[in-house]
C-alpha cells in the first residue's frame, strides 16, 4: 500500500485528505503518480499538483527534486501547496 496525503487546498481539489493505493505493481515514479491522481482520485488533480509551488514529501522528507520521486510499498507521499503561515 502507498498512501497519498493532500494538504491545504489540494484536499479540496482531491475531494479527500488522503488515498491509498495497492502497490502490487511495484515502485511508482512521478508520471505514475500524476496518472494515479487523475485516473483514481479526481480528473484534473494532476494539474493542481503540477503547479511548481507544490512541494512533495516522501515519508516526511520534502524532496528537492519531486520529479525524481520513487515511492514503494509502505511509503507516504504528501502533496504540499504553498503554506499560508501560522
Amino acid at each position: 500500500m502507498i498512501r497519498f496525503v493532500y494538504l491545504g487546498k489540494l484536499a479540496d481539489a482531491a475531494g479527500k485528505s488522503e488515498s491509498q493505493f495497492a502497490s502490487n505493481s511495484g515502485d511508482i515514479d512521478w508520471p505514475d503518480i500524476l496518472a494515479l491522481l487523475d485516473d483514481h482520485v479526481r480528473e484534473g488533480l494532476s494539474d493542481a499538483v503540477r503547479d511548481k509551488r507544490v512541494k512533495v514529501a516522501l515519508n516526511g522528507e520534502v524532496l528537492a527534486d519531486r520529479e525524481g520521486i520513487v515511492a514503494r510499498h509502505g511509503d507516504e507521499v504528501a502533496f504540499l501547496p504553498p503554506v499560508s503561515g501560522g
Binding site: V5, G8, A57, L80, S84
Partner: protein, 153 residues
C-alpha cells in the same frame, strides 16, 4: 528551558508564561508575543491544518536556529491547530535571555518564520450573501515574505 508544541485545544497564554518565566531563573528579560484570531468582518472561524511529520519538526528546527542566532536561556513556542474562533489565541512565543535585545529579537525572528515558512495551511469560514457561510483558503501574503527577508543576512 525549551518548550515547543502544537495545541489541539484552546490555550490560555497566561498559564504558559508564568511557569516559563519561573523555569528560567536568573533571566534579565523575557519577551512574549501572543497572536489571536482577529474579529474581521464576516469571519466566523479559522481552521489551521498541519502535516504531522513536518510541522512540529519544522518548529523544532526553527527553535534550533533561534538558539544559534541569539543568546537565549529559554524559548517557548506554542501553536494552535484545528478550528479557532475570533478572539482565541493562535500562537504564543516567549523568549528568556540575559539581555532584552536577544529576547525581543528571538521572538520577532520566530514569529516572522512561523508566519511565512512554517507548515500550516489556513482557511477562513466567512458569511456569504445567502445567509450561510463558506470556507476560503488563505493564500500566502507578500508582507509575510518581506518580513522573512529581514533575517536573510
Amino acid at each position: 528551558m525549551r518548550d515547543i508544541r502544537l495545541a489541539e485545544q484552546m490555550f490560555i497564554p497566561g498559564t504558559l508564561i508564568g511557569p516559563f518565566t519561573q523555569a528560567n531563573p536568573g533571566l534579565g528579560g523575557v519577551c512574549t508575543f501572543v497572536g489571536e484570531v482577529r474579529y474581521d468582518d464576516g469571519v466566523e472561524a479559522l481552521e489551521l491544518s498541519h502535516y504531522e511529520p513536518l510541522t512540529l519538526p519544522g518548529m523544532h528546527e526553527l527553535a534550533d536556529r533561534a538558539f544559534d542566532r541569539f543568546t537565549l536561556m529559554g524559548l517557548l513556542m506554542v501553536h494552535r491547530v484545528g478550528v479557532l474562533r475570533p478572539g482565541e489565541p493562535i500562537v504564543c512565543v516567549s523568549a528568556a535571555a540575559l539581555h532584552r535585545r536577544d529576547s525581543i529579537d528571538a521572538v520577532d525572528f520566530c514569529m516572522d518564520h512561523l508566519k511565512s515558512a512554517a507548515w500550516f495551511w489556513k482557511r477562513e469560514k466567512r458569511a456569504n450573501q445567502n445567509g450561510g457561510s463558506e470556507w476560503h483558503w488563505i493564500e500566502p501574503r507578500a508582507d509575510d515574505h518581506r518580513d522573512l527577508a529581514r533575517w536573510q543576512s
